[in-house]
Each structure stands twice: as structure tokens, then as C-alpha cells.
Assembly symmetry: C2
Homo-oligomer: 320 residues x 2
């Protein structure tokens, strides 16, 4: 559709988060023309969240006409039907929302929706660490451990849109309890929030640690002291071991050429990447298979989700 | 290419195994018109195997003209380039063979090649247990534990053709040694050969078992006595637990709607399927996610690989 590819045309890319909603006007080249941030008031539930979306769309479309909306949301999103098929308690009432249809009603243009972490992965493939990858595996260490898989430039969805939930792959059967109801999911070892929670729990058992003096423990604190503090080392090693095992198993299952680690923990840089590479190197790779993937940190930071939503919208316009 | 879809036209579908080579003339409807079996003499190496292939192709093409060759081989096959990129010792010299090019030279028609287990999965999707699946996960319990993934009717290859090596996903870090060089791969618990090998090893330790009276232990013996014999129960439970954990983790990663279990162990029927379903049911599925996949045994048996190779050839003719 050449007529939508004019330099002046923009899509509206929306990233729904638990704390903030971001909405960017993005052109075909991936330039974010105008960005808007609003508190999402997610805890107030579905109706309040839809009202924020309506305001954001009205404000941005007054600034510039748009040709489509691309939107990422937490939860299980059925990309084909546009529905939020499952969302835990973070946004009350969000399960069952016909998100695509709501957005189209508000914006008056076609909309397309997907899971937020899938779009972070797509954004990194378009403009970030995954550029040129044939099969890009993404792991996002945020509130939980999210995932995405980009194959030949497209998001892998599985049969029902629930694929790439790598955080709920079990690395220690019978281990840490997980919000999903199972035990030993990698998310409960490697996500920053889980690391902090485990440290706080260990402290209640009286295990000595420099963290005893912290008012609020963060994963960054744990990584900082991992070399010298017994408790920090244990928790950090568990995180690295869990991540490495899941990545190794996904190498067998998916054969990615690029693995992108994203999310807040990326700020740790080499303090995360170096031990993770070392843990992966403890698995035996026959010479024929060595060097068949690269492990990278994400490069787009907070913009990845917006760029992924924009790319999805542009792709949809051009291939629908 | 309508001219190739005539009812009289056939492709030659070849399934290279460690023991036998099968070659079937298969029409567009999936009817196997003529089947040929030959000993593969794989242990004699590359040259001997290519000679058998040449004879098989000559014999079958005298019977009926063919429009293409589709061929499955063990090892890592780069579907795009047609090359065998990696093969363990079973076929000396096979690594590096330009298999597609060799077949084209012998047959004088276009050829297309893939990994044998990928083609078993495609065959089941075309004519067997995976019919109609959007995302079909296949596990083959044969000499090893092979895998395949069919997404929207196409084989999933990953970046370099080495995807779906589910047998080398690690379920017990530090566990049983594997031929791949790592420890605790699911193949070393769930593949029939591994089950028999573990039982023989346990017997050398003097663990009492009815198997002590067997001259050659098979996985079928182990399953038969699992309810009453201590050693058999342990080995069978390890197999089921390992399989269930890998399937659970792949459900998180890939969201398949159909899971097909194939290979020789399928003959055990409900004795395999019932405990495997029970083991999967021990994981907690929220109500929203229950019933989103079905677990089936393969229905095509030994023909799956031939039908998959034929389907690949027909698809290639029609979409190339």
C-alpha cells in the first residue's frame, strides 16, 4: 500500500504498562515524532484504563493524522482476534477485553494488538540488538521474565497466542513457588523482583548479609555485592544458573542466531552478561555447533515496545 | 504449478534410516503407489550410502516418471542449502554431504531435503494425528528422542536448521551422561534405548529385578513390569517425569494445540499415554489455559517419514 508509506504518514504506537501508558507517533522509518506519557491507573481496572487510552488517542490524533494503531498490552493477547484472553490481577477486568475493537472505535482507523513483550522483541529486531537475525530469541528481565521470538521478521505466536512464556519454564522441579501455581519456574530465580524477594526472605531466616542494612533491596544491590557477600552470591548464582539452563534448552528447541536480553536488569551490563556467558560455556558444544548464536543486551531500552508496536502496525498495513 | 498436480504424477519420497532406506512413489493425494526397501549399510559410510540411493532412485524412476525428490536424513540438515551440516558417527563421512545436489544429479529432477524427524512430523500433520493443527509439537521416541514443530503447515527450522532437538533439553542438570557431551538430557531418560541401558546398568549394581532373567532388555519389558517391579518402576517413572517436564516447558515456549508422540515406544499405547497425561496433570494450569492442547499418539507408524518427505516435495513444487 504505497499511499500509506509517505514520509508524512504516522502510526500511533501504544505501550500499555502497569504504571504508565506510552503513545508515540511513529513514521515508516521508525522515527518517533511525538511521545506522550500518562499514568495508566491499571489497578483501577478496565474502564479507567480504556478512558486513559481514549484520552491518549484523542490527544495524539489532534497533533497528527494517523493511518493505524499498534498496541502492546500485558497478558495473553490473541493477535488474530484482538482479544485479551488472559490477564492476571494487575489490571482488574482486563481479561476478555476486545482491545483491537476498542482501539479502532476510539481512533477511527484499523488497529492491531499483541503482547507487550512480543512487541519489545519486534522493536529490537527492527531497530535494536536483533537487527538482521533470522531467529531472534528475546528474554525480558522485568517485573517477571517475559519472552518473545521473531522468526523471519515475524512474531511467533503458537496456536493460541500464548507462546514464548519462557518465564514459566521450570528449571527446578519442586523449587520456588510461582504466581502461576507451579514450583521452580525460572522467573522466580531470575526476575529482578524475585531476586529481591528471595533476599528479603533469606534475611528473615537470620542469614547474615550486607543487605541487612538496606531499607529496600533491589536486584542491582544483589548484583553489586555478589562477589563478596554470601547471600548475594547465592541468589545471583541461582539467577544466572536458571537463565543459562533455560537459554540452553531454548537453543536446542529453537536454534536462534541472536539472543537478546532486555528489561531493567540490563543496566547491570557486563556484570550480568559476563557470568551468563560463562554459565552457558559450561555446557558442552561440539565444535560444529560452537559460535552459532550471539548473546546481546537490548539497545533500545524503553523505546523497544513503542517501536515494536509501530512496526507491527506498518507490517499489518502493508501485508493485510 | 498445475501441470504437476495431475493424478498420474508422483514424487519420490526417500527416508534414510540407520538400518534401511525406504523409497516411495507418492501422488499428490498422499497415496503411496510403490514402496521399496533396501538395507542402508550406513556403517559403511557416505560412499556406500550414496550408491544405495542411486540404485533406489534408478529402480523407482524406471517404474514411473517422477517430478521431484523429497528426502529425509538423520543428522542436522540445512533445508535451504541442501547440506548435511552435522551427523554423529552413525554414518561415517555423512557430515558435509551436499545431499540435495547428489539426489538431483541421480534423479535428474529437483530435490528437497530435511531432517528425518522433521518429516515424520510433517507426515503426521498431513495424514496422521496432527491433521488440522495450527502448531503441532512432535516427539519421536526412537533410538534417541527426536522432535519436530509444524507451524501453519510448515516445518520450523530455526536459524540454522538445528531447531527442535528436544531430546537434548536438560531435565536433570548433572544427571545421566549424554552422547552430546552434556548431562541430564531428557533423551537419556525417555528414549527406549536409554531406558534399556539404564536398566542393564542398575542390574550390574545387583539391584534385584525380574529383568535379571531377560537375555536382552527392551523398553517394552520395562513398561510391562513397571507396576510390579521396583527397578522397572524407577526407570519408567524417570522417563515419564522427564518427558512431562520437557512437554510442560515446551507448552510455555511454543503453545502447541496438538502434541504427537511417535516412534517405536508408541506400541505401548495407553501404558505410555495414561501415565504421561497423569504426570502433565500434576502441573497447575489455571482454568483459562486448561484444555488448550491435545496429546496424541502418532497414527502413521513407519509411513510418516515417507509421507512427510512427499508432502515437502509437493509443497516445494507448488510454492518455489
Amino acid at each position: 500500500m504505497k499511499q500509506t508509506s509517505k514520509k508524512t504518514a504516522c502510526v500511533l504506537a501504544i505501550d500499555i504498562g502497569g504504571t504508565n501508558i506510552k503513545a508515540g507517533l511513529v513514521d515508516r522509518a521508525g522515527v518517533i515524532r511525538h511521545m506522550l506519557h500518562r499514568p495508566s491507573h491499571a489497578a483501577r481496572g478496565r474502564k479507567a484504563l480504556l478512558a486513559v487510552l481514549a484520552e491518549v488517542i484523542a490527544t495524539q490524533t489532534r497533533r497528527m493524522p494517523i493511518v493505524a494503531v499498534g498496541c502492546g498490552s500485558p497478558g495473553t493477547i490473541n493477535h488474530a482476534t484482538g482479544m485479551v484472553t488472559y490477564m492476571q490481577a494487575h489490571i482488574p477486568g482486563w481479561t476478555g477485553t476486545l482491545l483491537r475493537q476498542e482501539l479502532e472505535r476510539m481512533a477511527g482507523v484499523p488497529a492491531t494488538v499483541d503482547n507487550d513483550v512480543n512487541l519489545v522483541a519486534l522493536g529490537e529486531h527492527w531497530k535494536g540488538a536483533g537487527r538482521g537475525a533470522r531467529c531472534q530469541l528475546s528474554l525480558a528481565l522485568g517485573t517477571g521474565l517475559g519472552g518473545g521470538l521473531i522468526v523471519d521478521g515475524r512474531i511467533f505466536h503458537g496456536a493460541g497466542g500464548r507462546a514464548t512464556e519462557f518465564g514459566h519454564m521450570i528449571v527446578r522441579p519442586g523449587g520456588e513457588p510461582c504466581t502461576c501455581g507451579n514450583f521452580g519456574c525460572v522467573e522466580q530465580y531470575a526476575a529482578p523482583g524475585a531476586m529481591a524477594r528471595r533476599a528479603a526472605y533469606y534475611l528473615t531466616l537470620g542469614i547474615p548479609s550486607v543487605l541487612a542494612h538496606c531499607t529496600a533491596i533491589s536486584a542491582a544491590d544483589i548484583i553489586k555485592h555478589a562477589a563478596t557477600d554470601h547471600l548475594c552470591r547465592q541468589i545471583f548464582n541461582d539467577a544466572i544458573d536458571g537463565l543459562a539452563l533455560v537459554i540452553w534448552n531454548l537453543l536446542q528447541a529453537l536454534d536462534p542466531d541472536v539472543i537478546v536480553i532486555g528489561g531493567g536488569l540490563v543496566k547491570a551490563g557486563p556484570a550480568l552478561l559476563t557470568p551468563l556467558r560463562a554459565a552457558l560455556a559450561t555446557y558442552y558444544s561440539p565444535p560444529e555447533l560452537a559460535g552459532r548464536f550471539t548473546l546481546k543486551l537490548s539497545t533500545l531500552g524503553d523505546d523497544a515496545g513503542i517501536l515494536g508496536a509501530a512496526r507491527m502496525a506498518w507490517d499489518w498495513l502493508e501485508h493485510a
